[in-house]
């Protein structure tokens, strides 16, 4: 197991621990099991704010108050544009509004990290488009996102549900997890990977992670296959046995996983 990556069992353990704390806070997280599958994910819905497009008249003016004119990439054809450009920068008018979010935390076997999927819709039930989601990213991260939006948040098919979701790209998870995991390794302590990861990615897309998660949620039981390794060492775990002692034999991460979390006492 490489240094900054997460095996699926540890993912499940971390999620379970997060879930217990969520229950104590009534924070709304739930574990969703996929029918006929061993796989599951954490789910939560929440109201937040976002920037949504309001209706424009022919002059491009909006009667909505508190509007802010933003420049954004627009990927639809503009019939009034002689160039017939497919991709153009247009001045859009958007306003801050209440948005219904639905967040899913899944495990990615290919990246060996958690991945945040989410949906966003107005209170009237209209799904936000990708550009609106980009506009809704927390200002702290917006500059970086605007630099390369397609590398940050895109729309993909939900791996378990087959529906269109927005997803926060996981390819650089290691970079922001590394400082924490390395420090934990150096200090001979563990962290709850999901809590740490969520504390970074959640605020990007409007998901609040109360501070108590960072102090109250325990770490998963220490197992050789889940302990972080120094980057310079062999990728193999130090133990001769790759099996975590507390569970049934660990199949490769792409295979069905041990029994569902729901069977454990709350």
């Amino acid at each position: 197991m490489s240094s900054c990556f997460l095996d699926e069992e540890t993912f499940c353990q971390c999620c379970q621990l997060l879930l217990q704390h969520s229950h104590s806070l009534c924070d709304g997280w739930s574990w969703e099991q996929v029918k006929g599958s061993e796989e599951g994910y954490l789910r939560k819905t929440a109201l937040g704010t976002g920037r949504t497009r309001c209706n424009l008249d022919q002059q491009g003016n909006s009667s909505d108050q508190h509007q802010e004119r933003t420049f954004s990439l627009s990927f639809h054809n503009d019939d009034e544009d002689d160039d017939g450009a497919v991709c153009c920068i247009q001045e859009e008018s958007s306003s801050s509004s209440v948005v219904q979010y639905e967040y899913h935390i899944l495990y990615s076997c290919s990246y060996q990290t958690p991945v945040l999927y989410f949906r966003a819709s107005t209170l009237e039930g209209r799904s936000l488009c990708l550009e609106e989601v980009w506009d809704s990213v927390h200002p702290n991260y917006r500059q970086r996102l605007q630099h390369r939006p397609w590398d940050t948040i895109t729309q993909q098919e939900h791996p378990l549900l087959g529906q269109s979701f927005f997803v926060l790209h996981p390819c650089r998870t290691e970079e922001f997890m590394m400082p924490v995991l390395k420090a934990a390794l150096d200090e001979h302590r563990q962290v709850n990977y999901i809590v740490t990861w969520l504390s970074v990615v959640g605020p990007v897309v409007g998901l609040d992670v109360p501070l108590s998660y960072c102090t109250q949620v325990p770490e998963p039981p220490h197992t050789p296959s889940s302990s972080p390794q120094p980057p310079s060492s062999s990728p193999q775990p130090p133990s001769s046995s790759p099996q975590p002692p507390s569970s049934s034999p660990q199949p490769p991460s792409s295979s069905p996983q041990p029994p569902a979390l729901g069977t454990k006492p709350g």
Binding site: H138, P139, N140, Y141, Q143, R144, L145, Q146, H147, R148, D151, T152, L168, H169, C171, R172, T173, E175, F176, M178, P179, V180, A183, A184, E187, V191, V195, T196, S199, V200, G202, P203, D208, V209, L211, Y213, C214, T215
Partner: protein, 140 residues
């Protein structure tokens, strides 16, 4: 703690930028001697700073991230993590494709909207809040 009048604080402009949330805060051009035991504590009004409204923040770089010459800052309790993050980003002259990550206890990242005073209450020790920061090109 020692206090330095404005004209003796070589990082005055950047320090005031933090204190006043100025968008024009610039990094210091002078080389400043780093004295960990003697924190720079510039004041908005000479000698009038209210210690109860400010907390001490110690910034530590992670990995290859540039180390700030001034590590210890006196920050108003109501300042957000985002505000501090913006300040550090400007201080380090970060580019648009770079993202700054801040960590508490080297175990989690505080929300950008979190007030540093609250973090200090929960995680401060020895009269200061230690924050680690890391520059990254994360998100692709």
């Amino acid at each position: 703690m020692q206090r330095f009048p404005h004209n003796e604080c070589v990082s005055e402009s950047s320090a005031l930028g933090l204190l006043r949330m100025s968008d024009k805060a610039e990094s210091p051009t002078e080389t400043q001697k780093d004295e960990p035991s003697t924190p720079q504590q510039p004041t908005e009004d000479s000698g009038m700073a209210d210690d109860k409204k400010k907390i001490d923040v110690l910034l530590k770089a992670v990995g290859d991230t540039p180390i700030m010459k001034t590590k210890k800052w006196s920050v108003e309790k109501g300042r957000t993590v985002q505000s501090l993050s913006q300040f550090i980003s400007r201080f380090l002259k970060m580019e648009a494709n770079e993202q700054l990550f801040i960590y508490v206890n080297q175990s989690f990242s505080p929300s950008p909207d979190q007030e540093v005073g609250v973090l200090f209450q929960c995680f401060g020790s020895d009269g200061k809040l230690v924050l680690h920061y890391c520059k990254s090109q994360a998100w692709g």
